[in-house]
């Protein structure tokens, strides 16, 4: 089945998370779209809409965390960036227990265009000390990540998406903090995806098999802390890495993987992502194609470094 990761967030809020009396949700008047309103329906007294004010959103969440609450705070990924310095100084620096959970990450946010497309959020958030960064790939992983984030002590950033995405996890999967998963084994190249791009990587592996190439596919939900051991394992086994993310290639998953490889086991790497440019209006399908974020693009990148 397919479901958006934001819908999965709404689902886990109304089925499980609301039962924790310490959890509060702080919203900047966008909960109907982020699906945080599912919490409001269950625990209205623990739901606070501060209005269209993302700096105040982050600051209010910091104060709630400072007195023992577990605030889930967020807007669209892009607008949450407006509160970046508050996130830095009032949440990450004091290491407060705020869970920043945002929707509409990446290019595929509807057709509003570049002002609404957060392509840099992963890079920005990854650079903040104390903050963990998670980009779930499907509905199941979203629910597990949100539950794990609430159980985790310290600030967490979870980036969700608007579009429905396919389930890519086999039954019996487990979510482990800071760990990636090998979804498909292979010896020629390792495709490492995060968010919706892991599904594209799986399709790319199918395409590569037609060329006689066996691609390993790794899902990397946690960009920080990054699963350095798994990255090294994949590099040693395949000697070729392609990373795929729905965001700028400057500072995101690809960079985190490259930083690991350079230190531990340098191999060739290709970076699928937004190539240092802003987005624009368009359907998800058209945008993914235009900005080079399809399974075909991932397969082509793999062929390039294998050639």
């Amino acid at each position: 089945m397919t479901m958006s990761t934001r819908d999965a967030y709404g689902h886990v809020l109304e089925t499980e998370i609301y039962k924790n009396p310490d959890v509060v949700v702080v919203d900047a008047d966008i909960a109907s779209s982020t699906r945080a309103e599912k919490f409001k329906n269950k625990a209205p007294e623990r739901f606070f809409n501060v209005g269209i004010s993302e700096q105040d959103l982050m600051g209010t969440a910091a104060g709630l965390a400072a007195v023992g609450k577990i605030p889930l705070a967020g807007s669209y990924a892009l607008f949450t960036e407006r509160g970046l310095e508050i996130t830095r100084n009032s949440i990450c620096l004091p290491n407060l227990n705020v869970k920043i959970i945002v929707s509409h990450g990446g290019l595929t946010i509807g057709s509003d265009g570049a002002t609404h497309q957060a392509i840099e959020d992963i890079a920005l958030m990854r650079s903040l000390p104390n903050l963990s960064v998670i980009v779930p790939s499907d509905a199941w992983e979203t629910e597990e990540a949100v539950k794990a984030a609430v159980a985790h002590k310290g600030p967490v950033y979870i980036r969700l998406g608007k579009d429905a995405v396919p389930d890519i996890h086999p039954a019996g999967s487990t979510f482990q903090w800071g760990k990636g998963q090998i979804l498909r084994d292979g010896i020629d190249v390792a495709l490492i995806g995060t968010g919706r791009m892991t599904a594209a990587a799986l399709s790319a592996a199918d395409q590569l098999r037609q060329d006689g190439l066996e691609a390993m596919v790794i899902n990397m939900p946690t960009i920080k802390p990054i699963d350095a051991d798994l990255i090294e394992y994949a590099a040693r086994k395949t000697g070729h890495i392609v990373t795929a993310e729905e965001g700028t290639v400057l500072g995101g998953l690809g960079s985190a993987v490259a930083e690991t490889l350079v230190r531990r086991y340098p191999v060739r790497q290709e970076f699928i992502g937004v190539q240092d440019t802003f987005g624009e209006s368009g359907s998800s399908e058209d945008l993914l194609k235009k900005y080079g974020l399809t399974a075909e693009d991932i397969a082509a990148a793999a062929r390039r470094i294998l050639a």
Binding site: G51, D56, A62, V67, S90
Partner: protein, 272 residues
């Protein structure tokens, strides 16, 4: 406390501030000296805290949103027994308990890390909402600078405080009328402060921020005001208590040299 005791403590805090800044070789004397009386009344009479149990959940919270005035708060906390006097002399040194601006994870008695202007009121709202959820009686106090209210987040937060009718929150604005580059009214006219907050549905009280009776009465009135947050606009003198610093913007972040330190301490010792 008697006003005499509060005055004695205020002078002692001022002496500590001057000595700390001299030892640190950097810091913000002007805005530290303007909030001394306010801090003495708060910690002497209003703040329910347990210095030996600084994380006691039932304590009142104070957020020094104008975090650069930390030396005055540090000296006050030390005098109330939160940490030993020798910590004061490590202010701003690498690895010290006392950072240039307040750090809640390093310093007992600091309830919120601050220093980047504007962020304390939002955090105070979060604390006040948390207290209300828990049906807890403790209060949240936030101290802002007057120049600080030029930050946009202050007005986002001011709407939030009033919208949620946070009568368990008190904002104190240190209206010393000067900021780094000069008179606030000339840099960016913040006046009229009280009218702005009244328009935002706050209860407002304007006082002389160096008069113990007026500070005491205002804090009491804030505690008794129901259904809306209270802002106390404290008219103060930047650099208060040291004649050559008073009302001089240059002393916002100027370091005292040895001669200035001696002169300031002689003046303060003359008062005590």
């Amino acid at each position: 406390m008697t006003n005499e005791e509060l005055a004695r403590r205020s002078t002692a805090v001022r002496e500590y501030v001057v000595k700390m800044l001299a030892a640190a070789g950097a810091g913000h004397p002007g805005g530290s000296l303007s909030i001394v009386e306010i801090l003495q009344v708060l910690y002497g009479e209003f703040m329910h805290v347990r210095p030996q149990e600084p994380h006691w959940p039932g304590r009142d919270r104070l957020i020094l949103s104008k975090g650069h005035a930390a030396p005055a708060l540090y000296a006050t906390l030390m005098m109330h027994g939160f940490f030993p006097e020798e910590e004061l002399w490590n202010l701003r040194k690498c690895g010290a308990m006392l950072q240039g601006v307040p750090d809640m994870n390093r310093t007992p008695g600091i309830d919120m890390s601050t220093g980047s202007l504007g962020q304390g009121l939002s955090a105070g709202n979060g604390m006040a909402l948390g207290a209300r959820l828990d049906h807890a009686g403790w209060r949240t106090y936030v101290i802002c600078g007057d120049g600080e209210i030029e930050e946009g987040i202050i007005w986002e937060a001011a709407m939030t405080s009033a919208h949620f009718k946070l009568d368990n929150l008190t904002l104190i604005i240190d209206h010393n009328k000067l900021q780094l580059s000069g008179a606030s009214e000339e840099v960016m006219n913040i006046m009229p402060i009280a009218d702005k907050f009244r328009d935002f549905h706050w209860h407002t009280i304007t006082i002389n921020g160096h008069d113990f009776d007026e500070i005491r009465a205002a804090l009491k009135e804030a505690g008794e005001t129901k259904g809306m947050p209270t802002v106390i606009i404290a008219e103060t003198i930047k650099g208060k208590g040291v004649d050559f610093m008073e009302n001089k913007a240059a002393w916002h972040n100027k370091t005292l040299d040895a001669a200035e330190t001696k002169k300031a301490l002689e003046e303060l010792e003359g008062e005590s």
